[in-house]
Symmetry: C2
Subunit: 369 residues, 2 copies
């Protein structure tokens, strides 16, 4: 059976790089001195193996390390242990890239709607989808429902809760869910309520959301645990459409020397867990991710991957409506463009702001035909 | 009601520091332009507020920001959103310290066994507890059970699974659980199996562990989601003793400029979630955490905190048996010393190695009387 290929960047001298790569092979699997695991039953079947090691400049080496699939027990929490659990606590070890063989991904359902399913549900073809966020926290459910109605009138395809809209005493999950679903009931606009909550409430939240007429859910996989996404994606026969929020993700890629790259964390791993759409802060907004990382995230979500349907990048993070043509050119039509607070500040007329956004997206898509 | 106090370190010029602190107040709550939230219902009731801002040198400012408790909905996932969700994606914003008021912590059960309960269950008083890990991955359940028996004979108080022992085809959770519980059944040694697994299996794993005679469980809260700990801690009337593993945690504190400090992440937050014991890699082992951070983690776990029982620091990470006197002097008696692979490599006689470890701990404790 094919092995999992993980590429790590190691900041180390030429003398030390080989030893550090070998350490990763041990640390991420058996976590004992090599003398204890010299038998073939460990060497071939359990330990990581250095497949290649090259210096890429600047004192950094790139090590491709392969792991036997069996060590992951084909489950996401153990996969996280193997890929980055202990080495997270080291210095200068970054998980840069990840190749999952088909025989591995075949064990995971992946995005159940994928690009095709989201498009079909929204009735949108030939252009990026338009998304908006209900906010700010502190509004009543009635006020948020009114915003949802106005955004739908303006032509927004997907309305989601801000990730910080929880089950608050001033705006409960149930009140908001029903108010927004009712406001959108005679529109084609899809609603994704934020279901992030206590561990034991997640499943019930999804049931409520689908029963009330929501298309799916928004959640923060690095807060709930990544495997919650896999579980919730397969929870019911009418599978919820899942949009993943990157809360906490930035802690993993704040330095090029350590952590997990955006492409692996927000791309490959979220897609494996079954997110249909993944939000990330695009460059040029109010977050510092660079163009190369943004393209890599979008690539990891959409590129052909044996056994795993593609997911939609959700381009967000303080995006100006006027940047839509540029974003359309950069990310192409298989993307969601999420405008947050700019839809509320551009003018006091939210419907008109949404219309302006929609017309720019349509014009940008048309100009590419 | 008292507000939550979060201290952030911001790398910013004197001109920019105030604006950046104000940005955190917005970004972590309403996530819209301040002009949209100027009404008192936002200003006083929802937004973060800068309580103080001081330059601490090296271009770094320390901002104490207070949040109204209501924005957290008194649940851990939303608390994580509020404390660090979006700003994780910024640059140079580190959550350094956290003060939770009593009226907040009162909503959380916290460690259900705490230091006193773990001591009572293990029958250990007046000295640090001794822990060992079953490993390496790749051994059969019978081989691991045999190691457990030998460690117990040597006087180890707590035997835990290595965090990477999953429900593997070559050593299933059930087989291992029953084999180890049986091996330890006539000894006072406590067993903590690793229950980290798929989201929907965690609860059942804990039931099985307790029914088989395990004292509790080991899990990796940053892999399962921190709130899984809170849920599992209160799952049954015979509450499981919980040991938390720091897998992935290092991604959060690899740079002093960003992320979440070890004391907050492994200390305050794990304790709030209900971990009775928290593993961290002590300085001088094979991980790079410094002495100051290690003391801060131990402090955050043990210091008097209104409404929240203390937890035990588990000192680990490539610790040599010979360092026991030094660790005893540093961490005092309310700690667990976890020796991993050194118990298997010091000599081929695991029981003798454990005895040597136990005698060093007892001697170190005695010398402090």
């Amino acid at each position: 059976v094919d092995r999992i290929l993980a590429t790590y960047r190691l900041r180390a001298s030429r003398d030390r790089a080989r030893a550090e790569a070998e350490d990763v092979c041990i640390e991420q699997t058996v976590e004992v001195h090599r003398s204890l695991v010299s038998e073939p039953r460990f060497e071939d079947r359990i330990l990581g193996r250095v497949e290649s090691l090259v210096e890429i400049g600047g004192g950094v080496h790139e090590a491709v390390i392969s792991y036997p699939q069996r060590v992951t027990a084909w489950q996401i929490p153990q996969l996280m242990h193997v890929l980055y659990g202990n080495v997270s606590l080291k210095r200068h070890v970054r998980l840069e890239a990840l190749e999952l063989p088909r025989s591995f991904t075949a064990r995971f359902p992946g995005p159940s709607h994928s690009i095709r399913g989201v498009r079909a549900a929204a009735g949108v073809h030939g252009r990026p989808l338009l998304a908006a966020a209900l906010k700010p926290m502190g509004l009543s459910s009635g006020e948020l429902a009114d915003l949802a109605r106005r955004l739908a009138e303006g032509g927004i395809d997907i309305v989601k809760d801000d990730h910080g809209l929880a089950d608050h005493e001033f705006c409960t999950f149930e009140d908001r869910l029903h108010a927004v679903c009712e406001a959108l009931s005679s529109t084609p606009t899809l609603y994704l309520p934020s279901i992030t909550d206590r561990f034991d409430l997640l499943s019930e939240r999804v049931d409520r959301a689908l029963s009330a007429g929501a298309a799916g859910l928004l959640t923060s996989p690095l807060v709930t645990g990544l495997d919650a996404v896999r579980f919730l994606a397969g929870r019911r026969s009418e599978r919820p459409m899942i949009m993943a929020h990157p809360a906490l993700a930035g802690a993993f890629f704040s330095t090029p020397d350590h952590g997990i790259s955006p492409a692996v964390l927000l791309g490959t791993l979220m897609r494996l867990a079954g997110a249909d759409m993944v939000i990330f802060p695009t460059h040029g907004g109010r977050f510092p991710l660079g163009p190369e990382d943004c393209r890599a995230v979008a690539g990891a979500l959409r590129r052909p991957l044996p056994g795993l349907a593609p997911a939609l990048p959700v381009v967000a993070g303080g995006v100006d409506v006027e940047r839509v043509p540029e974003l359309g050119a950069e990310y192409g039509e298989d993307a969601v463009v999420l405008i947050g607070s700019r839809l509320y500040t551009q003018s006091p007329d939210v419907t008109a702001n949404a219309r302006r956004f929609a017309s720019l997206v349509r014009a940008a898509a048309g100009s590419r035909d």
